[in-house]
């Protein structure tokens, strides 16, 4: 670790839910479920209040109707499930990006910019008519990975070399990426035939194939799941992962054990960016199929939410992303059924991770979770 984080922004990994906790898997699962339930409950309260505010009157049945529509919209049939998984795909990859950083004690808020870079690189390579067949798709995906890695490498090297904290630099790079790619998509790489500013369409052989007839489910979910497995393998089954986790939890012990913390920081930031970029690539080759100017997404903070709910574990991230994917997929039918704006989902998401962040309070509130085997957590924080 570069000795200090001079900007005053420090992240204590042992306080990131899921990493430093010694409360055991069961406690973790219970508090996670509790957080989800409480989040949905607060969302229901908000729905009732918003009904009153918008002049439709006080009605306790609306939240039930809303959540019912939500579940139907996300799970009703193959189409709905396909849409849930499609939405979950980039969430998984952005969540993995944040998780990867957390594990090394780095806070990557730049998922958005890295996602955009990945999407753009994949769109350009995917639209280039120079490759044929599945190779084209693979190259486009790798290009996305590379684009994200570039956008992760910059804050990584600035941190290791100059001590510039990644929280501020990654956010600034989000805006730079957005504006830069706007410019490129609306001028240099603009599709002259399109009615609005965007890059040329991704060619058919670079697109991710549809997995199930009659749905829009594309192969991106397979990429995401494979990546989740690879991230898990890298973090927990390789010597490099051992180093990343050690640096993240105890930089002193890492030095004692002969690890190179600065190198690990740069590498982790780059790979973290690469994961977010992969998310952009998959989303673009599966859904968007071309980079539009003014491409507004919010995968940076969504990725953080997914990583926190998934307790910084690759498989937990998959679960959290599917949950959030389902909420989003169903949000449309919820809005159609009840008129409640889909943004309620973001609020519910925020409530859920609020409860995840306030986990110590939950643990104290639930009697049978109270202070059993907490010395690890307290000792690790000491």
């Amino acid at each position: 670790m570069p000795d200090a984080t001079p900007s005053g922004l420090t992240i204590d990994t042992t306080k990131v839910p899921g990493i430093g906790t010694g409360g055991g898997r069961r406690g973790l699962l219970v508090t996670t479920i509790l957080a989800i339930v409480l989040g949905l409950l607060l969302g229901a309260v908000l729905i009732v209040i918003s009904e009153v505010m918008s002049g439709r009157g006080f009605d306790l049945a609306v939240p039930f109707k809303a959540y019912q529509a939500l579940i139907e919209g996300s799970l009703k049939d193959a189409r709905a499930i396909g849409s849930t998984l499609n939405i979950a795909t980039p969430l998984i990859l952005s969540g993995l990006a944040v998780t990867f950083g957390f594990r090394a004690g780095l806070f990557n808020i730049g998922g958005n910019g890295q996602f955009l870079m990945g999407a753009f690189f994949a769109a350009i390579v995917g639209a280039a008519p120079i490759f044929q067949g599945p190779l084209h798709m693979v190259l486009a995906i790798l290009a996305g990975l590379l684009g994200g890695m570039l956008w992760g490498f910059i804050p990584g090297i600035l941190k290791a070399w100059r001590g510039a904290h990644e929280v501020v630099t990654t956010i600034m790079l989000n805006y730079v990426a957005y504006l830069l790619l706007n410019e490129l998509a609306s001028r240099v790489f603009r599709d002259p035939t399109a009615t609005f500013a965007k890059t040329r369409d991704v060619t058919a052989d670079a697109q991710l194939p549809i997995l199930i007839e009659g749905t829009r489910l594309h192969a991106g979910i397979l990429v995401a799941l494979l990546t989740a497995f690879l991230v898990w393998f890298l973090l927990f089954k390789t010597a490099l992962g051992f180093e990343i986790r050690t640096v993240g939890i105890n930089a002193f012990a890492a030095r004692y054990a002969g690890m190179k913390a600065a190198f690990i920081a740069v590498l982790t930031m780059s790979l973290s960016g690469g994961l977010a970029g992969l998310g952009g690539a998959v989303e673009n080759l599966g859904v968007t199929k071309g980079y539009p100017a003014e491409y507004i997404v919010n995968y940076g903070f969504d990725g953080i939410a997914v990583a926190l709910l998934g307790r910084s574990h690759p498989f937990g991230v998959v679960g959290a992303a599917v949950l959030f994917g389902a909420l989003r997929a169903g949000a449309g039918s919820m809005q159609r059924a009840t008129g409640i704006p889909i943004d309620i989902i973001t609020i519910v998401q925020a409530f859920i991770i609020l409860f995840v962040a306030a986990e110590p309070v939950l643990r104290r509130a639930v009697p049978w979770l109270r202070s059993r085997r907490t010395p690890a957590a307290s000792a690790a924080g000491a």
Binding site: I19, G22, F242, R245, I249, N250, A253, Y256, A379, A380
Partner: protein
């Protein structure tokens, strides 16, 4: 009188830890009082402060065991004891930073409850902490007035009035100070006087000084003593905590000796000698005897020459140390904690870059080599701060057992971890080193301190090592773990490993070592063959840095 304040007569025959007070230097408190009254020293008024039966337990440690203490107005009362004897705990209780489990505190005869420092400050108790409680980027004035600001109006501080009061206060103590100077730029001696000013600015009547001379130069010590005498003459009671015998004898009106959380006796500085006090303080209790054969030293395995090292603040805390450790011998470094031992060890093990000097292993220069390179060369290291450096507390036991060789076969093949290798080694080492753990997959942080240390020992000792550096290997552990680790260290020595042992526990150094060096203020002041080592004399050197007698052998 409670049991804690018994004189030596009660405990002498028991052979217990306190039995060392064999010589009649320590008189029971009552006799002491009478003597003092006869000498016209203490008035018959109630003591300024009294602590009765104070007991404080920390997890696994009885820090204070029914301690009684009585401070009279205007006296300098020295609290003498080894590091970890419980002096600081007692004083933190008195200052409201810790709450006692048992016992009561009386100020001017009335019982008080001190819940936080505010309570203590209100009752006229001031404290100068061992680690100064000064904000380095603040000015002198800002530090002094913090918490009891002199206000010009309800919002703004009257900086000038404060400056004037501080100057006046300093003048009354016989020194001058610039209130607008930045504290971080000032000498340690001056910072300490600022701490005293801080307490007096709040109207302290009882002033506690925790190891006040630990960080001072001799000249600064002389100056601070002058200040303290002046204060006492004006009626302030002073509690002076120290382990330095000659200083205590020089400054104190009365001495109370504490060992292992208990009051073991009192002494009158006019009649007591350094040797007497050293015996009382260090004790000569039942020792954990270690069976060992005479060493068969071989070639030089570790050679340190003229090593100087700076601490985190950049001050030179190791100053030109030279020594050699041969294969098959244990070289012990005794010394009161904080005399540069930790920094020296960190420089030897590659965690800290030395200012100058050389470290050689088996003849090869390894100065400032990386920890991993030293590990490959056969250096094992038990760090003093085991939770920070030695372990990743949130990791399971098996991972911690492979913390330094996870990247090599059999633990890794082409960068992929082999879980079974981790597990196998854990299954082998856990019984071998008697690590009490439910399984090898629980987080190390959940184990007791002794078992945590055994994990480190198991990891380091199971490697093919040539040199072992053990820094405070048994600090804070239970007797069983201590004994076990001692046996392991001896076994390593007998197998031909060169062992560098650093410990603030003199007993430990004496038991284990074949040769003993004493470190004092960053210098290795003497090296003695363990056969010739005399505990009292080494204790004296540790406490004073003076070798005194002539019989020591110089470092080779």
């Amino acid at each position: 009188m409670t049991e804690g304040q018994t004189g030596q007569s009660d405990i002498a025959p028991t052979g217990d830890a306190a039995a060392d007070a064999a010589q009649p230097v320590a008189a029971p408190a009552t006799a002491e009082e009478i003597a003092a009254v006869l000498a016209g020293k203490a008035s018959v008024v109630a003591p300024a402060l009294e602590m009765r039966g104070i007991t404080k337990r920390f997890p696994g440690v009885l820090a204070n065991d029914h301690i009684d203490l009585e401070i009279r107005p205007g006296e300098i009362h020295a609290l003498l004891g080894e590091n970890g004897a419980g002096k600081s705990t007692l004083m933190n209780i008195l200052y409201g930073l810790l709450t006692p489990d048992e016992g009561e505190i009386l100020i001017a005869g009335t019982q008080v409850k001190l819940r936080d420092p505010n309570d203590a400050i209100k009752r006229g108790i001031g404290m100068v902490h061992q680690h100064f409680m000064l904000v380095p980027v603040f000015t002198v004035a800002e530090n002094v007035i913090l918490g009891t600001e002199t206000m010009a109006n309800p919002i703004f501080i009257d900086a000038h009035a404060a400056d004037r009061r501080i100057r006046d206060l300093a003048k009354s103590l016989g020194f001058s100070i610039d209130p607008s100077a930045i504290v971080g730029d000032l000498s340690v001696g001056l910072q300490q006087r600022i701490e005293i000013l801080k307490a007096l600015y709040r109207g302290a009547k009882v002033l506690i000084l925790d190891e006040p001379t630990a960080v001072l130069t001799p000249q600064e010590t002389v100056e601070i003593f002058a200040v303290l005498r002046r204060l006492a003459a004006e009626g302030t009671s002073i509690v002076f905590i120290s382990h330095k015998l000659y200083e205590v004898l020089e400054i104190a009106d009365r001495i109370t000796v504490i060992r292992r959380g208990k009051v073991v006796g009192h002494a009158d500085p006019k009649t007591a000698t350094e040797e007497d006090l050293a015996t009382m303080m260090v004790g000569r209790g039942v020792s954990l005897s270690v069976e060992k054969t005479p060493a068969k030293p071989g070639d030089v395995a570790l050679a340190v020459s003229d090593l100087s090292v700076a601490d985190d603040q950049g001050s030179r805390v190791v100053d030109g140390c030279s020594f050699e450790v041969r294969m098959g011998e244990i070289f012990g470094i005794a010394g009161v904690g904080g005399n540069g031992q930790d920094e020296m060890v960190e420089a030897i093990t590659g965690l800290r870059r030395p200012l100058s000097g050389q470290v050689k292993m088996a003849g090869a220069d390894v100065t400032a080599h990386s920890p991993r390179d030293l590990d490959h060369r056969g250096l094992a290291y038990i760090p003093a701060d085991r939770q920070r450096y030695g372990l990743v507390l949130a990791f399971p036991v098996d991972d911690n057992l492979a913390l330094t060789d996870y990247h090599e076969p059999p633990f890794s093949n082409y960068g992929v971890l082999v879980d079974s290798a981790f597990h196998e080694r854990a299954q082998k080492l856990i019984p071998e080193f008697d690590i009490r753990t439910p399984s090898d997959s629980v987080a190390v942080g959940t184990l007791s301190g002794g078992n945590q240390q055994k994990v480190i020992v198991a990891r380091e000792f199971s490697k093919p090592i040539k040199v072992l550096v053990a820094d405070q290997p048994t600090r804070g552990l239970d007797v069983g773990s201590i004994e076990f680790i001692h046996k392991q260290i001896i076994a390593k020595r007998d197998a031909g490993t060169a062992v560098l042992l650093v410990s603030a526990e003199l007993d430990e150094v004496l038991e284990l070592s074949d040769r003993i060096g004493v470190m004092y203020r960053g210098k290795l002041v003497t090296v003695i063959d363990a056969k010739d080592a005399d505990k009292d004399r080494i204790g004296l050197i540790m406490a004073t840095g003076r070798t005194g007698a002539t019989s020591e052998t110089e470092a080779p």
